[in-house]
Amino acid sequence: MQRSERLSRLRTRGDFLRVEGVLLVTREPPPPPPPTPGQPPFIASDPAEGVEILLAVWDDGTALGLNGHVDLGTGIRTALGQIVAEELDLAFEQVDMVLGDTGRAPNQGPTIASASIQISAVPLRQAAAQARAWLLAQAAERLQVPPGQLQVDAGRIKVAGDAARGVAYGELLRGRRVVLGLDPNTPVKPVAEHRVVGQSAPRVDIAAKAFGEAVFVHDVRLPGMLHGRVVRPPYAGADHGEFIGNTLDSVDERSIAHIPGIRAVVVIRDFVGVVAEREEQAEQACAQLAVRWKP
């Protein structure tokens, strides 16, 4: 499977566990952390989804990291790719990332609190270090040298001082499916040896944004998608008091009967919304819907 094809074809955790020519590092979904005041609740994983896939190293020598957080412009797609490249001794360009995709990525809760690198990157970093250690042990066996004599450059394992002897990550994985459970005690690379992490790298997402290729959530289009607008109550900004949820007097749906494409007027206490087939119809309805609020 081609590198780009994998990103589109492997949609679930199960899909990853069915392909060949791959080393996977997985973990059991951890229990949700205790609730924290002021923070959104953490939704526990569904056991039916199976083990979480943290990392895949493929038989073409590239790697795919998976992380539960999303890149909102903070650059974590780039930074997490650097972390994987660092621990696996791959070139940055050999690493892809899948972020926040609930079908594939591990459940790591909401993307908040500057936690992506300091907390949610930790198991990914460990997974990459563990994968490298496994690959080096395999290479040591094949090449009949102690693992300490091996060096890695861009996924190519070489015997120190003997440039002719070596093996690539991809060769070690051909025709195999290796699944390692995450060992959080795997030693990670000492900071003093970092060559990718700590270096400024161009963000991988900016070009697509500059050419209008990037799909923001606002750009998602689904078949039969409708458009909505919310008519706000008159107490914007205030957030407590008896009047909350009790201020709507009436909604006159006849006031928008002349607008085509209206599919619903939704009223739930003080929540008033209009749903229409086209955005301009929803906007017009939002502006013209006769809503009376209590004084």
């Binding site: 944004k209 050419f211 209008g212 750009d219 039969g224 085509p260 301009e280």
Partner: protein, 167 residues
């Protein structure tokens, strides 16, 4: 089911060099037609009030706010979106400069920043910093990337073919 457009009128729009024949509602804005009918993701819906600049397109080469322009009023005008400005094979110098300068955080405002800058440099290839600030004053960036954006405009100015030092 096709969206119902009871009050629809037929129009032809020239978008990125191609004629587009469409039936649109009288209240449809240019932005809504570009995004929903022509499925262009470059121009963004920001405020819907012509105040933030995220929806900026070029109409006959001039930066304009697509969210407050009725689509039916721009028939026969030349409309360019971010997609039509340049692509990876042939990037516009302003797109290249914004990428080089890493002038984005979330990037939602990037369309407006690039389109406004491209229109500015088309009419004023060597603007003063004050002229750049004035031109972009109506383009809001909530992430706060303004310093990088100004650096990107300086870079774009230097890279315009017309500003290249003569051989």
């Amino acid at each position: 089911m096709a969206p119902m457009v009871e009050d629809g009128i037929e129009i032809t729009l020239d978008v990125n060099g191609a004629a587009q024949r469409l039936t649109v509602g009288r209240s449809a804005t240019l932005l809504q037609v570009l995004r929903h009918d022509l499925r262009l993701n470059g121009p963004k819906y920001g405020c819907g009030l012509g105040q933030c600049g995220a929806c900026t397109v070029h109409v006959d080469g001039v930066a304009a706010r697509a969210c407050v322009i009725p689509a039916a009023q721009v028939q026969g005008r030349r409309i360019t979106t971010l997609e039509g400005l340049g692509d990876r094979a042939r990037p516009h110098p302003v797109q290249g400069a914004f990428i080089q300068a890493q002038a984005a955080q979330c990037g939602y405002c990037l369309n407006g920043m690039i389109m406004t800058t491209a229109a500015l440099l088309a009419r004023e290839p060597q603007p003063s910093e004050q002229a750049v600030r004035d031109a972009l004053a109506g383009n809001l960036c909530r992430c706060g990337t303004h310093v990088e954006i100004l650096a990107a405009v300086v870079r774009a100015t230097a890279e315009l073919p017309c500003n290249a030092p003569s051989a």
